[in-house]
Amino acid sequence: MTFSLRFRAAIVSIVLFAAFLGIWHIATRSTSAVGNMSPEYAKLMGITATQGKSAMPGPLDVGAKLWEHVKRPFYDNGPNDKGLGIQLGYSIARVGLGYLLAVLVAIPLGFLIGMSPLISKALDPFIQVLKPISPLAWMPLALYTIKDSSISAIFVIFICSVWPMLLNTAFGVASVRKEWINVARTLEVGTIRRAFTVILPAAAPTILTGMRISIGIAWLVIVAAEMLVGGTGIGYFVWNEWNNLSITNVIIAILLIGIVGMLLDQVLARCARMVTFPE
């Protein structure tokens, strides 16, 4: 009896996950009391010392806490206690805004660079220098000039997602098959119409690859940026829970960051498939 590859892979995945949970559970479970110690001292140390309970929460603790969060994702008990849904919402909104601004700048500019060798050569040194700068290095400058931490975070997202899109758009536009351009030329298609009917569809898969790389980077950077600017967002949540020494919440946040990142990537992967046509 043979099952499809997909089915077998799913079985292996589930087994691996179960094994991971099992080891995690065993490694963090409570053992019996560690030994005799004075009750005063035991009171000070808490269950970590008295019952051999690890400071690291086990899968059951995390699961229980996660369920709490899932049940109440949008509660708001003041600036330091907001539901995970709200925090994620802030992060996604910042990424969305910064990313959208980056799309609006990078794609037209990338088109220009791809179509004009002059502009390409002229802008190349700037891009080469600006591209490797860590987006967080812009933060102080952004905070000083913009004077608003939330907008500064959006600016940091903008600056980190602009480069992959810009370079991919320029590359995609510059490497459109010569014969497609020649088709448009022999049909006397004007520059604007050519850009939209030949170059854009031909470069779309490459542009979307750039957009996919960018959203990944933006989601990486938002966590760090929010740790810096504070206030709201999933990055702030992680740092706040670290200050609260709630490792359970930190683990939940890590998990959610991964899941949201995956979803963002999948959405763009799907878009990329929609514009890719085999020859």
Partner: protein, 306 residues
């Protein structure tokens, strides 16, 4: 027929090269009448594709001019349609979309229904009825090239330019498409200019065959007028008494004379290229032994070889 519909006048193409310039060809003169089918044959590197690109307006000559229908050409034009070697269909458009793209480029203010009807007419003409909504990736090589032909024809060009359009196809498909192209050109009186290195393709399709010597510094050596009747068929083409004379003449040129022509003919005038019409008795050498085929061409006496 003396009126020159296409006139290539002294064009040259030079490229800067390390230590001087490379001349692909120079002082090339060539003319064709309306409704004629011209084929250029030559080895790779003789610049035949460059000639076609200049004619299409995709490339510019370093010197000289090209006059089509009494007007010097400047850049590309919807009057001159190109059928590309690699079909060059837009993969994100359907068959209908690819042809319609050309139609809307020519007639910008046509409404959707009119464009569709016009495109459909040419899709039917090349025998692709029923495949309108397929994308190029779903088509075979021959079908893709049919779309290429339909797209070129749909803009009703004055000239159809073909750059080795069938060289990437298998022999059977190539034969069928040659038939189609010949039928369409004869029916519509289309002027066509084609580049090939398939001698049989040239013999079957062309009225005039332009022989080019090897590059760099290629010249147009001879114009061969096809002596075969206009209503020739592909199946019994090789039975015509002039066929082998014509074929041997071209093959001989390609094998030997294309290399030595320039040095052997110092007095060659590029403006007055000799016109040859193989099949005249003195040129027939190879078609000696076959006497049984005579009956298939009534009215034509076998050329004497004695």
């Amino acid at each position: 027929m003396t009126e020159k519909f296409i006139s290539i006048e002294g064009i040259a193409k030079r490229y800067p090269a390390p230590g001087g310039t490379t001349t692909v060809f120079e002082n090339l003169w060539l003319s064709m009448s309306r409704g004629e089918f011209g084929c250029v044959i030559g080895h790779s590197g003789c610049g035949k594709t460059t000639v076609l690109n200049i004619l299409a307006g995709l490339d510019e000559p370093s010197d000289g001019a090209v006059i089509v229908d009494g007007q010097a050409i400047e850049g590309t034009s919807l009057d001159r349609a190109v059928i590309f070697q690699s079909h060059a269909l837009l993969p994100w458009r359907t068959v209908l979309g690819n042809v319609a793209y050309a139609v809307t480029s020519k007639w910008r203010n046509w409404d959707r229904a009119k464009v569709k009807a016009h495109a459909q007419k040419f899709i039917d003409l090349v025998g692709l009825t029923g495949s309108e909504h397929k994308r190029p990736s779903e088509l075979s090589g021959g079908m893709k090239q049919r779309v290429g032909i339909a797209r070129a024809l749909s803009i009703t060009p004055k000239i159809m330019l073909m750059d080795e359009p069938f060289s990437a196809l298998d022999a059977l498909t190539r034969g069928t498409l040659q038939d189609e192209v010949r039928r369409i050109c004869l029916e519509t009186g289309q002027t066509a200019f084609m580049i090939t290195h398939d001698v049989d393709e040239a013999i079957y399709l062309a009225d005039k065959i332009f022989l080019m010597t090897n590059g760099p510094g290629a010249v147009l050596a001879e114009i061969v007028e096809n002596p075969l009747p206009k209503d020739r068929g592909r199946i019994d083409l090789h039975r015509h008494p002039y066929y082998y004379a014509l074929r041997n003449h071209i093959v001989d040129f390609l094998v030997t004379r294309s290399k030595t022509f320039t040095s052997g003919n110092p007095g060659h005038d590029p403006r007055d290229v000799p016109v040859v019409r193989p099949g005249k008795p003195e040129l027939v050498i190879a078609s000696v032994s076959e006497s049984s085929q005579q009956a298939s061409w009534p009215g034509l006496s076998r050329p004497s070889t004695s």
